[in-house]
Amino acid sequence: MIQAIFEYQFMQNAVIAGILASIVCGIIGVMIVEKKLVMMSGGIAHTAYGGVGLGYLFSFPPILGAFFFAVAAAFGIGFIKRKGGTRSDVIISMFWSLGMALGILFIALRPGYPPDLSSYLFGNILSVTQADLWLMVFLALFVIAIVAILYQDWKNYLFDEEFAYVMGKPTGWLEYMLLLLVALTVVVLIRVVGIILVISLLAAPAAIAEMISRTFEKRILMAVLFGLLTTLGGLTLSYYFNIASGASIVMLSAAIYLMFTVREQIHQHRLKSEMLMQNEQKE
């Protein structure tokens, strides 16, 4: 496989795409897991399907359609949540299914044979083109820059939004910005794992990092590392066993997550019994 990476452009693209995806996933994943926005991210991702369909209908790059739909969904969900006071899970599910429905409609309206959409739905890291890669690089840099520049503000916002607001932070602006970053991250991830599998790559590395690291900085770093492990590991599995890369990446990340959950349970159980032992000895 190493040889293939040096020989073939598509393998190089795949590896670079995996690295970029892991970095943005680690950063944004930790933030949305903390803020409990994982389902909202799922809603944004699925709404993007409408954009893919629109791209096929009017013959422009579907990924651009996905970009605009994801951004619109992010602002739409954020706006209705803030103004309407309706339950956010209801709004998310509306966007979720409406986006998918629009995608199906647009593709049905397109004359001729329906295109193969599985690479958008389930991802195909081996089909990442040079143009995709440039878009991914640009979006990833934007996400990293926004998070880095306002790092302290993000941290204060994530820990205690109300307090940050009382201290004069524009928390409404930060919320919209975070949703925008989620939308951009989703677009980066669509080519790697696809719309349907995006949530797993956002949530799993961050959730694993949560179990093993105590500080926020370390949590982001670990989430990026686990992202790398799963995307590059999944790519390897996909290469050798000839399975869809999106599926192998997601399955690997779920397996690692499960492993760490079991480890955490055993660890907690052991701590409890040790404490009980000590209490008995004292008595």
Partner: protein, 258 residues
């Protein structure tokens, strides 16, 4: 002296529900006000309205004679314990330090030497120095609550607003918190929201009772008529075996306490 807080004809609606209706309340500087009332009576809503956290439908709120925007820095806020994710990976020191954050978005923000000094002072004052590097997930309820108070104090506010600061802490920690607040009240104004009216009536210098409307504002002794209109039914205050008196002796008329 200009009042610390002046609430005029304040109404707040949540959707179609009235949370607060035509509330008028003046809190003098140096006052230690306890806000009590039934659940859903608008206690927290009033506190949040003063802080600008909920949109007001009608009325005005003046903070030290000015608007909230002008005098934001004079306020210290201690939110409800349950409003915060305690598993967040942040140390006690970092939380208290965050009380020094500046308003507005800050590009590559860094805390100054003075910010760190104030943080250490506040930790010392509240007796949390030994827990400095502890993660918030490892703190007890009482330690966590005192940390939130310390965070509010590092900005050196003139008015401290606390939302249920003794909920979910044990008796020892509760006593510590009340002692701390009594000491702070020597210098600053305090507004405290609590459902625990028996406990706070012995602490505060005045009480406000809210049940959508302001039912009572005055000295910390309540009579049963106030309590009746507050909770809608007679509450047997005596049966709790109070360590202190909440009620004045009733000498006049039937309907007093039996």
């Amino acid at each position: 002296m200009v009042p610390a807080v002046e609430v005029r004809d304040l109404s707040v609606f949540y959707g179609r529900n009235v949370a607060l209706k035509s509330v008028n309340l003046t809190v003098q500087q140096g006052e230690y006000l306890g806000i009590i009332g039934p659940n859903g009576g608008g206690k927290s809503t009033l506190l949040k309205a003063i802080l600008g956290l909920v949109p007001t439908s009608r009325g005005s709120i003046r903070i030290f004679g000015g608007s909230l925007q002008e005098n934001r820095t004079l306020l210290g806020f201690v939110p409800q314990f349950s409003a915060i994710e305690r598993r967040f990976p942040i140390s006690l020191y970092e939380v208290i330090l965050s009380g020094r954050m500046k308003a507005g978005l800050q590009v590559f923000a860094r805390y100054t030497l003075e910010d760190h000094e104030r943080t250490k002072e506040a930790m010392e004052q509240i007796g949390l120095s030994h827990l400095s590097q502890r993660q918030v997930s490892e703190l007890s309820g009482g330690e966590f609550q005192r940390m939130l108070i310390a965070r509010a104090l590092v900005s050196q506010p003139k008015l401290l607003l606390l939302d249920e600061p003794t909920a979910s802490v044990d008796a020892t920690a509760r006593k510590q918190i009340y002692e701390l607040l009594a000491k702070l009240n020597e210098k600053i104004t305090i507004i405290l929201v609590s459902h625990d009216m028996l406990a706070i009536s012995s602490q505060v210098s005045s009480l406000a009772c809210l049940n959508s409307k302001l039912v009572y504002h005055g000295g910390p002794e309540l009579n049963d008529r106030t309590v009746d209109s507050l909770y809608g039914c007679p509450v047997d205050l005596i049966a709790h075996g109070l360590p202190h008196r909440v009620l004045r002796d009733h000498t006049h008329g039937p309907g007093g306490i039996v």
